[in-house]
Chain length 342, copies 2
Amino acid sequence: MSDVARLAGVHKATASRALSAQGSSRLNAATVRRVQAAAKRLGYTPNAAARSLRTNRSFTVGVILPDLTNPLFPPIVRGIEEVLMSQGYTALLASTDNDAERERTQYNALLGRQVDGFIVGTASRQHPLLTQAHTADIPIVLLNRGTDETMFPLVAGDDAAGVTLAVDHLAGLGHRHIAHLAGPPALSTGVVRSRAFRHAVDAHGIDPARSPVLTCAAYSEAAGADACAELLVAHPGTTAIVAGNDLIALGALHTLRDRGLSCPEDVSLVGFNDMRFADELRPPLTTVRVPNVELGAEAARLLLARLGAAEGNAVAGSRPVAKTLLLPLELVVRESTRSPSR
Amino acid sequence: MSDVARLAGVHKATASRALSAQGSSRLNAATVRRVQAAAKRLGYTPNAAARSLRTNRSFTVGVILPDLTNPLFPPIVRGIEEVLMSQGYTALLASTDNDAERERTQYNALLGRQVDGFIVGTASRQHPLLTQAHTADIPIVLLNRGTDETMFPLVAGDDAAGVTLAVDHLAGLGHRHIAHLAGPPALSTGVVRSRAFRHAVDAHGIDPARSPVLTCAAYSEAAGADACAELLVAHPGTTAIVAGNDLIALGALHTLRDRGLSCPEDVSLVGFNDMRFADELRPPLTTVRVPNVELGAEAARLLLARLGAAEGNAVAGSRPVAKTLLLPLELVVRESTRSPSR
DNA sequence: TTGAAAGCGCTAACAA
DNA sequence: TTGTTAGCGCTTTCAA
């Protein structure tokens, strides 16, 4: 930067101003042009560490996700990055593999790197780390999953409506034995979806004894397979399944196949998320589509708004109200659902 | 840090030493313990920006990938992060969406954030940005794809051997009309794989007129579908296809299905990479497995070695030789290949 | 073994 | 409109 200033024949403070949007407006246009030309000629790249040290802002956002290998997340990341980048921010990604300790490590590492805020997709209903972050007044936006106590804004799909869509579809097809393979009860999505399932199934006057809810240990293929195996033993008359998400549905598909049952002839199956490749499975999965890119984008916008407020545009001491933003979902009917044959 | 020093009753320089591995060895053990206790009590997190400013090292590595939504990459990222994290490094991810301008923007943003080096998975054979980086002596390790001119170390699968495995498998099944849907010729993987295909097919004495190579515009489903459509017109007698990667294979699968051809009854198909869900497709895809996690881990190790050398362990002025590390591949036979029926 | 002091590159308050 | 100056939090040389 000193070099740039020297080449342009100005003081380095002036060069600094010329290179920043708000500073350049208070400068002579000719000076600005001269400095910018010099910067370009020297291939000047500002030192983010120095800027961050001085301004106490890094223009970096930490993004904490449970598992990057779940195809659900890459589109979310894309949405986040699009919005962030457009405002000069960068995302620092961390994948926790559903490990609380790993999460804490990553969180601290990110804090040490002076991220300005977080987008957190790993929230469980009781989440000590988030409680602590809330106390420390760290700017955070939750994605997909919320905490029991509303501490931070949450952007998620309208899961209850989504599950209702799924149940309505199945009931409309004539199913009266519908089971739910629910996500973990420690996660808000697990309880929201299973509660909505209960409600929807009741609304159709389906016998509760014939609409069991089985809990999966995780949103994973393996957990879905296990829960489905249990289900087939306890409720052999089941003709349709609403899975907690697509990975659980995939696991269920495996179990069905292993047991010699075919989908949709013997059992209909609905997933959740419409992750990439859901349409390529055997059979192509009927599922609830979540607008993932938009989800990520909204979360980023909310966080940016919060950060902008922190810049001094808000009344001092006021903390923004934690809103919940629910995005509309739609059912995508493919080949894993049909009318019951028995 | 001043607070920590005060609480421990030492000068902040001493606190700094106590908190660093190499500094603490030159200190009184009791002092070190006192400082560490104080740091813990205050929940001290070092300011990475300040450290980076002072040391000119960020312990951050930029990872530039073509497309995070390709399931090939998340496992690679995991491998990279595992190794990096174990050495106190963090990865900064950038997804370019195969856009050269986006790549340059991201590269510069990363440079501005003082990354210590890059792992680049987007190399094309002629790559101005990489040439420039080479001139600037930026530590870089290439992943998967190399440049024509060897400038940087490369970690990749042994593609030639992999393609040979695929062709041998098909020839062994009795196929004599084998086509290759090649990746873009601007990428090293495109030419390496198609060259290996040519060679392998020749080795089996297959008529070159019956073993055409068609070029895909990208490693994508859409490009694979297009190339396959062309193939079916120009070479209707084809009984087997070796796809440039799994996404191309998936596109080909769509085209075959659209044309009323079934796989493997009418046409056998082999993919490349064994990306997640390759085993869930219709039919489950026979493909060449690349050890992705290991690939990422090796790239990270190579870069770390280079960075370590930059710390002053190497002879001044010497630049490490750019090695190429090829990882062994294996063929995974599933249901998309069988003996030809015609 | 520890303290003092300088300075990494930048921005912002203050002066001119 | 531009220059001067101080200092963000840390590490490291030099001195004690």
